[in-house]
């Protein structure tokens, strides 16, 4: 514990379209308003964070220029491709091998869609920021995923590729293999032939080039992974799940929380976005003509039944309910709203 970095981490998770980026920025702003030095980072193809915080978006850490924050907030829109290239340059034992990979056509066309590479790069950047020990808090806006839990398991999947030795099929010439390896190799050859039938010789050639260029980086990859894992499972790391109050979203969020629990991770709190229209209190007891009354009653009963479902689904987590503002609130407005909610919670 003595040498562990003091930097805290909050990972925002949830499916797309729930306001995850906006609320990650708000969470970071809130901490900065409270005097902490904070970084918020995202891999967001639509560059939402860039617009929200006025960042440069060139993959560099940028100080947010809002007077209220007194220079305590930095934002970072990750350039996934750049970081992956960078990592490969650092990790490959021979520069020539790295350059060969970076010039591999398959890699060039597809490295950004290489499954797991986005998750890998954001975890890699997180590790770097935490290890630098220069910040009090790092807020990570995780990439939207079908299964947000994949964010945590993606690096394992990448690592498995090397642990299981698939790379060696493409790497080691047959003549250099021992007797036992040749037997194992027999199965592999069959698989390769099947793959070739499906994809063609050119694909296999590019693929084996790809793996050849990767030689030597699996050890480093594993070391990095161990470090990252200990950050994620450490007590300095909190998970917050973002969802909306729609029944389907509540159900998705419960599944995500269960998935996290299976990974041995407790979800600290849930931010439920767009729970109710911000004006609902002003019309709650208003006497209305029949048509308008019907409209208000419809919306109120919808809010109520969603509340019931939420309380049932998230019985053990701390819930923060955020209204639908009818406009896009800026992160500082939202941060102040979150602060006010927190005070309310303390009073109760």
């Amino acid at each position: 514990m003595t040498k562990a970095p003091r930097t805290k981490v909050i990972l925002s998770m949830g499916s797309g379209g729930v306001g995850k980026t906006t609320l990650s920025a708000a969470t970071a702003c809130k901490a900065a308003l409270e005097g902490k030095r904070v970084v918020v980072m995202t891999i967001d193809p639509s560059a939402r964070l860039k617009d929200l915080l006025g960042l440069s978006g060139d993959g560099q850490l940028t100080q947010v220029q809002w007077p209220e924050l007194e220079g305590r907030l930095w934002g970072l829109v990750l350039d996934s491709r750049g970081i992956f290239d960078d990592f490969i340059r650092k990790a490959a034992e021979h520069t020539a091998a790295a350059e060969k990979l970076l010039n591999n056509r398959l890699y060039q066309e597809l490295s950004t869609s290489l499954s797991g590479s986005q998750e890998f790069t954001s975890l890699e950047k997180l590790r770097e920021l935490v290890m630098s020990d220069e910040y009090d808090l790092v807020v990570v806006d995780t990439p939207p995923a079908d299964h947000a839990i994949e964010f945590l398991t993606a690096p394992d999947r990448l690592a498995a590729l090397f642990d299981e030795g698939v790379a060696s099929w493409f790497r080691t010439p047959l003549s250099q293999q021992g007797f036992l390896k040749r037997i194992i190799r027999k199965g592999a050859n069959q698989v390769l032939r099947a793959l070739e039938l499906l994809t063609g010789a050119e694909f296999i050639r590019e693929l084996s080039d790809f793996f050849n260029s990767l030689s030597g980086w699996q050890g480093r990859l594993r070391d990095r992974l161990m470090e990252t894992k200990s950050i994620l499972h450490g007590e300095n790391c909190d998970f917050q799940v973002v969802c909306t109050s729609e029944p389907a979203q509540i159900s998705q969020a419960s599944k995500l929380i269960n998935g996290l629990t299976d990974e041995g991770i407790q979800t600290a709190h849930i931010l439920v976005n767009r729970c109710y229209p911000h004006w609902i209190e002003t019309v709650q007891n208003e006497s209305l003509p029949p048509g308008l009354k019907r409209w208000r009653d419809d919306i109120q009963s919808q809010i109520q039944s969603r509340d019931v479902l939420m309380n049932k689904s998230f019985a053990t987590q701390k819930l923060v309910k955020i209204p639908h503002f009818g406009f896009e609130p800026n992160p500082i407005q939202l941060a102040k709203f979150l602060q006010a909610q927190e005070k309310l919670g303390v009073k109760k």
Binding site: L106, S115, L197, A248, S251, W295
Partner: protein
Amino acid sequence: MQCAMLAPVALARIFPRMKIHFFTGKGGVGKTTVSWMFAHELARSGQKTLFIETSEESLLPDLGLADSPSTFVPKEIPSQRQNGNQWKLQQLPKGQPEQLLPGPRHERSLGRSPERSLWRGQDCLREYAHHLLKISPLVDLLFDHKITQSLIQVAPAVFELALLGKITSGPPRLVGPPLDYDALVVDAYASGHFLSLLRSPQGMAKAIRFGPMGKQSRAIHEMLINPEYTQYHLVSLLEDLPVEESLELGSTLKNEFDAKPHLWINRVLQLDPEQMEELARFPNLNLSKVLHERLQFETKFRTQLLDFPSWADVREVPEFFAPQTSQDTGGQADRPRDLK
């Protein structure tokens, strides 16, 4: 369940020879519900329709739209669940507004319903391998072996290609097991992810010029840019971010795939004449102010959306206060809303 009704004649006019309908849009705008609704309308108009989910897990049960999850093998939709709400769909082309009104309920229940499937990349890939290799043990070796599993899992764009390959496997490509439908309605990924899906065949074709991989990738891309086979539907809301994203996505689809997407505006405020009259008569009520403000917002965002010149057409789906939980919907049929 909410179902919009398009008159069959109007449908035939809008989609004369079409096969594949991709639905995309920002996360959370209602892609699944709108595309599900559209699949029902195609089916009722007499087209043999397959509704395809592409997420890891079937979303229909959580949305209260079906009792059980969709599976890879198509499922029939039980007919007693078909009764939709009385929806009025307004078409808003520049020039002549065309109103498509629902037919009487008894007519609708006579129509056919779509079938539904859940197509995940890994399942599509396995099916394709089976079809091509024809030797089950070899396919099992490929997919169940720990090593190949991890290889396939990280291999670039393979799942995307497998999914698109399956979706475009009907005529004229005719690759893989036969796919016999008049229309496929694909509830596809959200904007950014959808674009990388669409771009994957081009990317692969550039990297791999020869062999089956290159050839198939080019053929898939050809189908994606041919409006006779493929149509794009964009679901949006009258709110800041969805509008912004729709306009961006609309131009990208136009520029990169030469597509004229169909625009669906979801959750539009729907007031009946009585409510509109009350709104005018009691302007000082808090609720009236709120509704007026929302109508103003909607007008502003609608104008922004309609300024974009390349929509094939524009349709609006009213906001609907649905039965709230999946348990509710599982038990009861939809609650008809009196629209007068």
